[in-house]
Symmetry: C2
Subunit: 435 residues, 2 copies
């Protein structure tokens, strides 16, 4: 069992405890994959532990990327600044149709490399060939919630997706020392009609796993669903029992009526807010201050790299903090600490992960050490504000996931960075040539 | 005279020339402070030059930060998430009243350190004790347009500011091998009444320099000015001849009528757009697509670090590209290349700098080399899109300003990074204690 002691570090525990100042200086003790203790001068109590020098660093919980399509990294910078339908129908979908199993492995490896280097220690992924994604998660040491994206348009395709999704859950749920959890991934209300969603719900009950779905992303989705079913997307989902007795990650939730906000709160749905993707695709601005005020569980996500175009969660933190201020015409909404809470403690709730997302005894040791000795983090009047409004993901120096050091002093220990970039570029070049 | 040859580099010249693909691979030759030639295989034509290996790097023009208050870095993370008036009146102004000359020197040094490291090679500054800012510019090697912020409320203060501003221009305009240009800096319509602005205009004519002013930043400004003068801010400025026969940098321009857009275009006013500051302070969303469509000159700025909270122009590039898409509900507006043009070629026009902002023969050698070998820049389908949507300012590896290498392989050559951070923190701590 690994025993680590992070010494003399500024700690932002993000543990939901109200303090006059949300950070303090101290030590963090890790035993195996668990945080044993957080506090002052622990170095005198715990002897013989591997010491990580924390002076000049900030320790915060690893961030959780609550919604992405990891292997879409291969399509980064392939198609930008286009109308939504043209982007999807002429660019993204035709290329996705050519994706092969190996692309998913290398695309996911690239995404994980990028996420770890920028302080993300867990992600919720929905895509294809997910067993290869699971392989990448296993090897890299990251934590992930995986699901096969399921499309219920057409009986054969729908049934096949149910079978593939079931196999993924049976094969991979709880694997990699528990770092992998699996969900079912019905894509969206407009690609999964109610009868199909009822099949998905049945399978979810049978397997005892939750769901990950896109909801209320665009105005077109809302009006199409309303026209077809006489209800808005979240009303439709509630009416078919999607939220009953199961954990659901709902990605986007951009266009919501007050009634739909209530539905999300009442059912404790985990909302994955993707500010950059919503801005880049011009989907709209999700009512995050209203959702938080109402008590909804809201985390942050990057969405896929084709609509972002990176997987830098610290950017989402900053975009979330700034976008809702200008949208609400109120500089006091989405304050620094609250947004950091969304990226960590609440993000774990969105992903349905127990004892993850805080630096707290008994919690999983998912810890990010960030270098505070940077011009753009000087002076240090307020640590949380500096992280949210000034830090760069390249300030992340060391990353611990499940008690294991996966990046130390910016050197990846679990992945061959050069090779991952090389293979991903090769897959991407090849993908663009396939007819 | 220094002779440099950057070899085998991906070049984004940002020279206003339309090409099917706006980048190509080649060499760049620098003689003294001027770009001599840009093209293929120049290494065989120019012998005996100092070689900078460009393989795996991107060369682009240094970015221009068209509006900041550099020494406000000292107030970074001092006061965030507050209502605007409370932030200004209870936090920022009382601290600014205690600023001393040495604070400006170290605060500006810190800002320049941060700007060079993130690929900014010129900035337009408005603040106090500007002779100390000029000292920092001279020593660090950056290019800057400096002005004393002038307040015309009260006769004595107004006259004093005119005298100090005049002295700055006489002392520093054209200094530091021409890297320093000076302007007059009447703060804003609500702090400089028309009669005072007429004095400023007279002085500007006498000295032959332009102006830098805040205009139409908040709705409150617009309604106050309308109430007092029966005209909107830009109409008022035009009516007193502010734009006649002189170059003006107009910061913010958030709230504009169609008539005011015409005023900006007709008078070739340089608009400095500060998306992060406008979002953080909830000032509003400037009509950038409309301004660009109308032919206005628009560059990007960070504003001061108290309302941003960093001086990372690449972030402003990305915010500009994304904010206007969601605001216009159109993912095709502010496309990647156009926004990069605002940060470089057009930014130089906003600052009124001749032959700056493009990689083009005869232009000033202000060049940024950015490392493309990064997970978040892989794959490389589109160089401009990768810079705008994926790059981090920490990807900047080498920076050349006025033909001189000021940062090489991430090592600052003109500044002592550790000392600047130390002194800035010391000044900031002291500033907070002053009564």
């Amino acid at each position: 069992m690994g025993k680590l002691l992070i010494k003399d570090v500024v700690i932002l525990p993000m543990d939901g405890v109200e303090r006059e100042q949300p950070w303090f200086t101290g030590d963090i003790v890790v035993e195996g994959n668990i945080i044993k203790e957080v506090g002052e001068d622990l170095r005198y109590k715990y002897k013989g532990y591997e010491i990580i020098e924390g002076k000049g660093l900030l320790a915060m919980p690893g961030m959780l990327n609550c919604h992405t399509h990891a292997a879409m990294t291969l399509l980064r910078s392939y198609a930008d600044d286009l109308p939504l339908q043209e982007w999807l129908e002429e660019k993204i979908w035709p290329r996705e149709a050519h994706l092969q199993s190996d692309d998913i492995y290398w695309g996911t490896m690239l995404s994980i490399l990028e996420m770890i280097k920028s302080g993300t220690t867990a992600f919720a992924d929905m895509y294809f060939f997910m067993e290869r994604g699971a392989q990448a998660v296993t090897e890299s040491g990251i934590r992930a919630s995986l699901c096969k994206g399921m499309i219920g348009l057409g009986k054969a395709k729908g049934e096949q997706d149910l079978a593939v999704a079931e196999e993924l859950v049976k094969e991979w749920n709880g694997k990699a020392d528990g770092r992998i959890t699996c969900l079912l991934g019905p894509h969206a209300p407009y690609t999964c009609p109610p009868d199909y969603l009822r099949e998905v719900i049945k399978l979810s009950d049978k397997l005892g796993v939750g769901l990950h779905i896109h909801l209320a992303e665009t105005l077109k989705e809302v009006s199409d669903i309303e026209e077809q079913y006489g209800m808005r997307p979240l009303e439709l989902m509630e009416s078919i029992g999607l939220f009953e007795n199961r954990h659901v990650i709902a990605a986007h939730c951009v266009h919501l009526s007050d009634k739909e906000v209530d539905i999300l709160v009442k059912n404790k749905v985990g909302v994955a807010h993707n500010p950059q993707s919503n801005m880049k695709l011009a989907s709209g601005i999700a009512p995050i201050p209203k959702l938080l005020q109402a008590g909804a569980i809201v985390g942050l996500g990057t969405d896929g790299a084709a609509s972002n175009n990176n997987l830098d969660l610290l950017e989402e933190v900053r975009y979330c903090a700034l976008l809702h201020k200008v949208s609400a015409q109120d500089p006091t909404v989405t304050p620094a600490y609250q947004v950091l809470d969304m990226a960590t403690r609440m993000g774990a709730q969105v992903m349905g992960l127990d004892k993850v997302g805080s630096l707290k005894p008994g919690y999983k040791a998912d810890i990010v050490l960030l270098d505070l000795q940077k011009p753009h983090l000087t002076p240090l009047h307020d640590v949380a504000a500096n992280v949210v409004y000034s830090a760069q993901s390249s300030d992340v120096k060391t990353v611990i996931i499940d008690g294991k050091v996966v990046m130390k002093n910016k050197q990846m220990l679990t992945m061959d960075e050069e090779r991952v970039m090389y293979e991903a570029q090769r897959c991407a070049d090849d993908l663009l040539k396939r007819e």
